[in-house]
C-alpha cells in the first residue's frame, strides 16, 4: 500500500496533511499518534471510506475500493458497536461468506479467542468480548491486509494481552497488519515498524530502536547538593536542563562528555545515566514546540 502526498480536510481542519508512506506485504506496522493526530483519517483513506482531497492512495497497486471489493482487506473500525440481535457465529459466518477465500468460521473465532461464544448474542457480551468479535469480523475473510483502528482502546490489561496474542498469531500466517494506537508500549512491543503521525503529518518512521535517539540521546541526572545550576546547560552534549527538587536532569546527546565535564566540576553525587525511553522519543517527536532547535523556527 502506498500514500503519496495524501491530504484530507474536514471543513477547515486539515486532518491528513501530505502523508507519504509505503508498506510492504507481510509487515506489521503501528500507526502511533495522540488522539486527533490523524490516525483514523489516514485509515479511512487507506480503506477507501474517504477520498483524499489531494495526492493518491493505493492499495495492492489499485484504488482502495477495488482492493476492498476483491476481498483483500479486513478491518476493525473505531467507534463501531455490537450488532444487535445476531449471534457471534451468525455474524462472523455472514462476513466470512462475503470474501472469496474465507477461513473457516471456527478458525476465525478460535484465532480471536472467542471459540466458546459462537452461540451467544453479540449485544449481550462484555466490552472485551465485543472487541474480539470485531477482530473476528476483520479476519474472517482471511484478507491479505488487516487494518485495526485502535483495537485495544477500552480493554483491560488482561484482555489487551490476549488480544495481542491473537493479533500476532494472525500476523505469523503471513498477513500484513496495520494497527493504530496511542500506546507506545504497544507499538514497540507488537510492530516491526512504527510510523509516528502528528497533526496529520508523518514525523518518524522506523523501529522502536531507531526512534529512541529522537528523544535526544540519554538522560544524566545527579544530586545538586546545594550547587547552583548556572552553566550546567552549557556543558558538552547537553540539550536541556530540568531541575526536580534537588536533582538536576540533563538531556544530552553525548553522555560520556557530559559526565566527564561533571566530574571536572566535582559535581558527581548520586549520578545516573539512563537511555532515552520510547516515551521520551514519542514526546519529543510529537511536541515540536518543545524542541529547542525548533523554537527559533
Amino acid at each position: 500500500m502506498s500514500f503519496a502526498g495524501a491530504v484530507k480536510n474536514f471543513g477547515a481542519v486539515r486532518a491528513v496533511d501530505g502523508v507519504d508512506l509505503e508498506i510492504g506485504r507481510g509487515e506489521t506496522v503501528a500507526l502511533l499518534g495522540r488522539n486527533g493526530a490523524g490516525k483514523s483519517t489516514t485509515i479511512s483513506l487507506l480503506l477507501g471510506l474517504n477520498a483524499p482531497d489531494a495526492g493518491t492512495v493505493e492499495l495492492f497497486g489499485g484504488a482502495p475500493e477495488s482492493a476492498v471489493r476483491s476481498g483483500l482487506v479486513g478491518a476493525m473500525l473505531q467507534k463501531s458497536r455490537a450488532v444487535p440481535r445476531v449471534t457471534v457465529g451468525e455474524l462472523v459466518a455472514f462476513v466470512a461468506r462475503r470474501y472469496p477465500k474465507p477461513m473457516p468460521v471456527a478458525q476465525a473465532l478460535e484465532l480471536a479467542g472467542i471459540g466458546e461464544l459462537a452461540g451467544r448474542r453479540v449485544d449481550r457480551l462484555s466490552g472485551g468480548q465485543t472487541q474480539r468479535v470485531r477482530f473476528a469480523v476483520a479476519l474472517a475473510g482471511n484478507p491479505s491486509l488487516i487494518v485495526l483502528d485502535e483495537p485495544t482502546a477500552a480493554l483491560d490489561v488482561e484482555a489487551r494481552h490476549a488480544f495481542w496474542q491473537s493479533m500476532r498469531a494472525f500476523a505469523r500466517r503471513g498477513h500484513t497488519v496495520l494497527f493504530s494506537t496511542h500506546y507506545l508500549e504497544e507499538a514497540d512491543a507488537h510492530a516491526d515498524r512504527i510510523v509516528v503521525i502528528d497533526r496529520g503529518r508523518i514525523v518518524a518512521d522506523g523501529t522502536g530502536e531507531q526512534l529512541k535517539p529522537a528523544a535526544g540521546g540519554s538522560l544524566v541526572s545527579f544530586d545538586l547538593a546545594g550547587r547552583a545550576t548556572e552553566g550546567l546547560a552549557q556543558l558538552p552534549g547537553v540539550r536541556s536542563l530540568e531541575v526536580r527538587g534537588d536533582r538536576a536532569l540533563l538531556r544530552t546527546d553525548d553522555s560520556d562528555a557530559t559526565v566527564r565535564a561533571l566530574a571536572d566540576l566535582d559535581a558527581i553525587h548520586g549520578l545516573e545515566v539512563t537511555p532515552a525511553s520510547l516515551d521520551d522519543a514519542f514526546l519529543a517527536l510529537t511536541a515540536p514546540e518543545l524542541e529547542p532547535e525548533l523554537e527559533t523556527v
Partner: protein, 238 residues
C-alpha cells in the same frame, strides 16, 4: 445478497418491539375494533384489509429504523470494508422490508378468516395478500429515506408519526365515511388510503380503480426519490 436478506430478516424477527408493534398490535386492534361494535360482516372484511395495511405500513417503515440503527452503531460502515457493494446493501435492505411486511399481512388476514369468519374466495385471499405485499413498496422506500436521512432517534419518531398519521388519515383505523367531507377529499390522495383500496376492492369482488394505482404510483416515485436523495446525502459516507 440473499445472505444479507436472511441475516436482516432474522434480526428483525428477533426484535421484540417489531413482533409486538408490527404484528401483534394490528391483529389485536383489528379484533378489538371489529368485535366491540355490531356484527357487520362487511365492516369486518374492510377493517381486516385496513389493519393488514396498517401492519404492513408499520413493518415497512421499521426497515428504516433498522438502517438508522445500523448507521449509528457503525455496522453499515463495517459493511463498506467488506467486498459487499453499497448497491447490494441498499437492495438487501429494501428486500428485507418487503419480506418483513408479510407476517403482519398474513396474521391480520388469518385473524379475519379464522376468528372473525370473513368469507372470501380463494383467489380473493391470494389477490389481497399479493396486492398488499406489492403495495407496501412505497412505504419501505419512505422508511429507507427516513433511515438514511435522519438520525437513529429521529427515525424512530418520524416512522411512528408517519405510520400513525398516514394510518388515521388514510382511513386504516376508522372508515373515512366518518370523516368530514374536506378530510375525506384529502384522504383520497394519501398513499395509505389507496394502498388499502387495492385490497378492499378485491374483497368487494372487483379490480382496483385506476385512480388508486395512479395515486400509489405517484407516491412510489415521491418516496423513491426521497430515499435516493437521503442515501446520496449520507448513505455513501456512513
Amino acid at each position: 445478497m440473499l445472505d444479507y436478506l436472511r441475516l436482516e430478516v432474522r434480526r428483525t424477527l428477533r426484535d421484540v418491539g417489531f413482533v409486538i408493534g408490527g404484528i401483534a398490535m394490528p391483529v389485536m386492534m383489528y379484533l378489538l375494533f371489529t368485535n366491540l361494535g355490531g356484527d357487520d360482516s362487511g365492516y369486518k372484511a374492510t377493517a381486516m384489509v385496513g389493519m393488514a395495511a396498517y401492519g404492513a405500513v408499520g413493518s415497512a417503515l421499521n426497515t428504516g429504523g433498522g438502517v438508522a440503527e445500523d448507521r449509528a452503531i457503525g455496522w453499515l460502515r463495517q459493511l463498506r470494508v467488506t467486498p459487499m457493494t453499497p448497491r447490494q446493501v441498499v437492495l438487501g435492505r429494501a428486500l428485507t422490508g418487503s419480506v418483513t411486511v408479510l407476517p403482519a399481512i398474513v396474521a391480520v388476514l388469518a385473524a379475519g378468516g379464522l376468528v372473525n369468519g370473513v368469507r372470501l374466495d380463494a383467489w380473493q385471499w391470494a389477490a389481497i395478500a399479493l396486492l398488499l405485499w406489492l403495495g407496501s413498496i412505497p412505504f419501505t422506500l419512505l422508511g429507507l429515506g427516513n433511515g438514511y436521512g435522519l438520525t437513529s432517534q429521529t427515525t424512530g419518531v418520524a416512522n411512528m408519526a408517519c405510520t400513525m398519521g398516514l394510518a388515521v388519515l388514510g382511513g386504516l383505523w376508522f372508515p373515512i365515511s366518518l370523516f368530514p367531507g374536506w378530510l375525506r377529499a384529502i384522504s383520497h390522495y394519501t398513499p395509505t388510503n389507496r394502498f388499502a383500496e387495492l385490497g378492499t376492492s378485491v374483497a368487494d369482488g372487483h379490480a382496483p380503480a385506476l385512480g388508486a394505482i395512479a395515486v400509489l404510483t405517484a407516491w412510489l416515485l415521491a418516496f423513491g426519490s426521497y430515499a435516493v436523495l437521503a442515501y446520496r446525502r449520507t448513505g455513501r459516507t456512513v
